[in-house]
Amino acid sequence: MSAYAATWVAVVAGAVVCFVTKLAGHRVPEHWLAQPRVARIAGLVTVALLAALVAVQTFTTGADVTVDARVVAVAVAAVALALRAPFIVVVVLAAVVAAVLRALG
């Protein structure tokens, strides 16, 4: 299977998994998912995955842990978030900071 076809399979499989998850929430008895442990773990899984994605996207290049313009850009993004800037502003700001730093060399 080509890489392109494999990506298509993953796109469809991921979509199915996400839809079935949503539908399951609507179908299973509420008390089952309302267990504190389930709710607590689901909330923390979201936090852990997003934090790991931030780390990997900021500090890694392939299999190497690196520090480059992205670190400054993400720090600026964090400041913008602390100042309650809208999501789209934060994202664009990070891109501009990284692009400018790289252009300066």
């Binding site: 979509a15 539908l23 299973v28 979201t46 934090a51 999501f87």
Partner: protein
């Protein structure tokens, strides 16, 4: 028949109007950042059609960003599916909270499930009564769906035209997007501790584990931390720890 028959009509009309206004502003704000998803998706190596398929069929922002993040980092398609699926797990909790409110069956409930996301949950549960909550849910869910998909296409076309993604700082934009999704969830000390450990686990595993695995491994941190009522360490750090779906 409805729970709201006792509510005075003018109050109801005002509440409906407020719900619709909230739904539209949330839809606009969320929809516009579909541009960043579309642009980042094509720079991660997906084509226009795959990018559109993700927004149409997966339709849950965090999972979509995670999916293209893993693919863009050279991760296996299976790791991308697993990461996206795990990030979408919270939608099941939203569904369970919304189901009694929506009381739908058949195709309508399938549509309700598809538009069960952070934003529709947040707007629905912010409303004063079930009838208005339903209005908030559908207007937000369908509004975000329409705009998110529209702006995904715009972003994908823009991203294609830009060429080298790093020259435009799009790799940093992807990191900032994840940070933006994470930020509102860091209110509690327990969440902050889990986030910090997850960062360490992911970076420590990066040199040796296949791409995509360091992120998945971080989920284990959450399961361990969340398993006990209050682990001693988390209890000491902050008593407001229990993570419940925000209502």
């Amino acid at each position: 028949m409805t729970e709201a028959d006792g509510t005075a009509a003018p109050v109801r009309t005002a509440a409906r109007r407020t719900a619709v206004r909230q739904a539209l502003s949330v839809s606009a704000a969320t929809g516009v950042y579909g541009i960043s998803f579309g642009a980042l998706s094509v720079t991660a190596g997906l084509d226009l059609w795959q990018t559109m398929a993700l927004s149409l069929l997966m339709f849950t922002g965090g999972s979509q960003f995670a999916f293209i993040g893993v693919i863009g980092a050279g991760g296996a398609p299976g790791a991308a599916v697993a990461t996206a699926g795990l990030l979408g797990a919270r939608n099941a909790l939203y569904g369970a909270a919304l189901a009694p409110l929506l009381r739908g069956r058949g195709p309508r409930s399938w549509a309700a499930a598809h538009v069960t996301i952070d934003e529709s949950m947040a707007v629905a549960t912010a409303q004063p009564d079930p009838v208005v909550a339903r209005i908030g849910f559908w207007w937000t869910g369908l509004g975000v769906f329409a705009l998110w998909n529209l702006f995904t296409v715009v972003g994908a076309l823009v991203g294609d035209a830009l060429g080298d993604p790093t020259r435009w700082g799009l790799d940093a934009a992807a990191a900032a997007a994840f940070l933006g999704l994470l930020w509102p969830r860091l209110a509690h000390r327990a969440a902050q501790v889990v986030a910090a450990i997850a960062v360490c686990v992911a970076l420590l595993l990066t040199p040796d584990a296949p791409a995509g695995v360091p992120v998945l491994a971080a989920a284990v941190v959450a399961v361990v931390a969340g398993w006990h009522e209050e682990t001693p360490r988390l209890a000491r750090l902050g008593r407001s720890a229990p993570q419940r779906v925000r209502r």
